[in-house]
Symmetry: C2
Subunit: 235 residues, 2 copies
DNA sequence: ACACTGAATTAGGTTAGACTAAAATATTAT
DNA sequence: ATAATATTTTAGTCTAACCTAATTCAGTGT
């Protein structure tokens, strides 16, 4: 008996974990302007070598219907099918983070790694049920917007705290989830999304003095940490 | 910068999804006596060809520390490390089924497929937190015993309803989770684990007439369905 | 003891996705 | 405009896990 693959399953998830990772990286590196993403940037982000990236982009861009548009020596951007899958993965990731945090009591520095793995493997049903028991949450534990189902997500207008002007109040919109140690440090300093901060001073090596509302003393943080905190103008 | 793999992660989950599937199949086909499992039986169960099985068994049995003991032309059985991983997968699977059913409101014919996929990818933390919010459940939705963490599981003393003697009350201990359509039929007939049944009659083609307590009429089921219901003597 | 048959293994091939080393191309600096 | 440098691609390998076709082996019946 030949086992014929479930066509539903195949159509829902025709992409491998590896292809998924490329698509999500292209989405995130391309940003809101959907800029061409370079081979180098992808290799760096994915932790693999550039020839592997070139090979994958050639393969992906030669398949029909194609997931990406690739221009040799120039870069790659998502085609419609690739963009759909990438945003779906972002939704899976952020819903999973919310779920792991709220239901399974993970701390906010623990959720990313698990979500990064599971986002590839959950079914549509799992996604829908998790969204339902959470009451269709809008925001993940790090302040990132959870895109709606089947919808293209949006990039928030936010900028690294490291590039915010001095003495101008800013509200934290999100923090990068990619480094657990940074997250623990950020939490220790009381810098959750929603908190308003003012940069008092930047010293020569780039480290910041930041004032929080209703706090006596300012907090100090290095450039690196200030690069993983994102803010907008306080309304 | 070379990315060195997280040693914890590696030691916890050094097995691929494919190897996982072999280990679980060897566990289940070997049964409580840990009988040698044949190449054919594995190929059949896993839906792959026999030469692929031979190749995998040769590879697995030549690695140190070995997951399986393989005797050419005779069969394969689990080595200690393989048995540990296989029981861990069984625990993951059954906990996930319980979780999907109780928390995410999956029906009992929907849980198996999702658990079969996710069992390979959840972390120890996920396993522990799910067990905690469920209150360390003992039994999965199909009546299977959930093994304790790090513990070797047990095979229950149960037998297919299809081989139970006539007119002797039997209590359903579990039902096979591998066929969703059968599960829906079993549910329709009111045959949950815990229910006591008596076989009134077996007709020539092997189909059964089964009486349930406190029910007027008997239910009819074919041989196939009676082979996916497991029972023990009613105390 | 020997032929038959079914099960298992060997031999050789494919695909996905990674790697290194070398070559080609693009960008930047003189 | 040309040379130096950085980026990208090509060429050739490797491993995991599957496949088909051909061969070998083990158990059975005469
Ligand atoms: Mn989805
Ligand atoms: Mn996040
Ligand atoms: Mn585990
Ligand atoms: Mn089950």
């Amino acid at each position: 008996m030949l086992v014929s693959p479930n066509p539903q399953k195949t159509s829902v998830h025709a992409t491998s974990e590896s292809v998924d990772d490329y698509l999500k990286a292209i989405l995130e590196l391309g940003g809101s302007e959907e800029a061409l993403v370079t081979t180098n940037a992808l290799a760096e982000r994915l932790g693999i070598r550039t020839p592997s990236v070139t090979g994958m982009l050639q393969k992906l861009s030669s398949e029909r219907p194609t997931l990406v548009h690739y221009e040799k020596h120039r870069g790659v951007r998502l085609a419609p099918a690739g963009k759909r899958r990438a945003w779906e993965l972002v939704r899976h990731h952020r819903l999973l983070e919310r779920f792991l945090h709220d239901v399974l009591k993970y701390s906010w520095d623990e959720v990313h790694e698990e979500a990064e793995r599971l986002e590839h493997f959950i079914s549509e049903r799992f996604e829908d049920r998790v969204a339902a028991i959470l009451g269709d949450p809008e925001i993940d534990p790090h302040g990132h917007v959870i895109p709606h189902k089947y919808a293209q997500g949006m990039f928030r207008n936010e900028v690294e705290l490291a590039r915010w002007p001095l003495r101008t109040p800013a509200t934290i919109t999100s923090v990068s989830d990619r480094n657990a140690a940074s997250l623990r440090e950020i939490e220790r300093l009381g810098l959750k999304p929603g908190v308003t901060v003012t940069i008092e001073d930047v010293n020569s090596s780039g480290s910041l003095c930041v004032r929080l509302p209703g706090q006596m003393d300012v907090v100090r943080m290095n450039k690196n940490l200030a690069g993983s905190i994102f803010v907008t103008a306080t309304p």
